[in-house]
Amino acid sequence: MKGDRIGSGVEAGLYVPEIATIVGARDLTWQDRVFVVELAGGRSLGHRPGQFVQLSVFGFGEAPISVCSPPEKAGSFDLCVRKLGGLTKALHGLGPGDEVGIRGPFGNGFPMKAMRGMDCLIVAGGIGLAPLRSVIDSIFLNRSEYGRLILLYGTRSPRDILFPEELEAWSADPRNEVLVTVDEASEGWGGHAGVVTTLFPRVTIDPVRTVVVALVGPPVMYRFVMAELEAMGVPEDHMFFSLERRMRCGVGKCGHCQVDGRCVCVDGPVFSAREIKTMKESV
């Protein structure tokens, strides 16, 4: 078609990433790297914990990445990215000073309001800890507004553990319980071994006073976690899970992330267990 025009205005900008700068980057594990990203002029992203951005590495594409720093952090935000495919590999080659594209934040985020005044049980599997870190840090920064904080975290092996120092720091606080497990213990690992659900018997919770947020990797794990928690008496609308789908637009148009009648990008990615049970093909 002739007559193409460079768009302007807010609407035309829906698919236009804002150019942001990586101001810090460090490797967390052999496959995960955390980036500190700054928007122009240090403008705040304005996200809620659990929301994601559409991150562009131009020439490689765009992918949803959760913000892993709390909203309270000013001037920049963090993204923790696992090296998997084309875009994420290219991203891993970037460091301070490099430019990326950012759209968002998108999605609903975790139910921070529902968690206020409640005990918070956080179940994380693998890279799932990244988005949950924004929840944990946010709780930390407003510690008095929440009850107990219990983190159950499982990774494949000890070398996959993310944010080890922060795990230390979180567990140093007596109001918190932090339990870590690995699927395959390697030599020198003195901790727990087994999938994340094997940690459940090790904590006692008051099911009606607890809100659970979870992001646990493969769909079967969701089913296990949900079943265990139900057995422990946690009501379905106190459990929240963040789902993963392929997304092209992040705004409910491209159709890729549809689950039953919902769009994970706009109606989610966080859903209550009650919703998930009625959503076919969700987990």
Binding site: G59, F60, G85, G86, K89, A90, G93
Partner: protein
């Protein structure tokens, strides 16, 4: 990347049409040469080098005596691109495998057959690991350029995995079936921009099968168009012999399964709406 990546072209049994398609690119090839250094290309230049990172290999393997050369290329190359149907699937001459090798030789060389060598026709992947297959007989020039861009960028190339129908419909070509002819488009990997159906000709399947072809459906549909199983096999054999279509065509008996449900007229057919 430290200097331009060095690219070498090689070929085995083929018509060299894919390399010529590259050479026929014209201006884009000149632009591409800004980013790479072509160090070996027997068909186009006399310079030769054993030092290269990217090997572009056309042709299939038909003689055991060619295997060591291919292995040497593989050892040197960090990226090996298989160029065209011969390299990726065995090529149109793959159906020579139907015949006994000594018969083949006798057919051509008569009583001197013993002085010559023949072997099973096979794609490169039968002997070495292929990093990127570029399908097509011949390749689509744009796809070659796109692959080279991916290689230069270090971006994994995702081989198209839709059926030719995808591109055929995007281009709004009249379906060959509507002309009462058969077409292999529904089970053939796209990427050619449906060039054959653009002229009202059928797809012959030169890009091979999609990853998960429904060969049972293909067999049923072709049977309904009057093809016998031998004909169907022969149609598939043209390019996909290496993928052993007869195995796919024989695993289940869908007709029985479907027919048991509602008498003789399958309810799904358009005629029975």
């Amino acid at each position: 990347m430290g200097g331009k990546p060095r690219v070498a072209f090689f070929d085995f049994a083929c018509c060299e049409g894919c390399q010529l398609t590259v050479l026929g690119l014209g201006e884009p090839l000149i632009e591409l040469l800004e980013h790479v250094e072509v160090v070996t290309w027997r068909e186009a230049m006399s310079e030769k080098s054993e030092e290269f990172e990217v090997a572009v290999v056309e042709g299939s393997i038909t003689r055991d005596s060619d295997v060591p050369r291919l292995k040497r290329i593989r050892e040197q190359a960090s990226t090996l691109i298989a160029l065209g149907s011969c390299a990726t699937l065995g090529g149109p001459h793959v159906s020579a495998n139907r015949l006994d090798q000594s018969d083949l030789l006798t057919m051509v060389y008569g009583d001197r057959a013993r002085e010559f060598e023949a072997g099973e026709v096979r794609p490169l992947s039968a002997e070495v690991q292929v990093d990127i297959p570029i399908y097509g007989c011949p390749i689509n020039a744009d796809e070659f350029v796109s692959v080279m861009k991916h290689v230069l960028l270090g971006r994994p190339y995702r081989v198209p995995n839709q059926a030719v129908c995808h591109e055929c419909k995007l281009n709004q070509y009249e379906c060959v079936y509507d002309r009462r002819q058969i077409c292999l488009g529904p089970v053939t990997r796209c990427g050619c921009d449906a060039i054959c159906t653009s002229r009202g000709h059928r797809c012959f399947g030169c890009r091979g099968l999609v990853d998960d072809p429904n060969l049972n459906a293909a067999r049923e549909v072709l049977e309904e168009h009057g093809y016998r199983v031998e004909d169907i096999l022969s149609v598939f054999e043209l390019y996909a012999t290496w993928a052993r279509p007869e195995e796919g065509l024989g695993i289940v008996e869908p007709r029985a399964a479907v027919k048991s449900r509602k008498g003789s007229e399958p309810w799904r057919f358009r005629s029975s709406i």
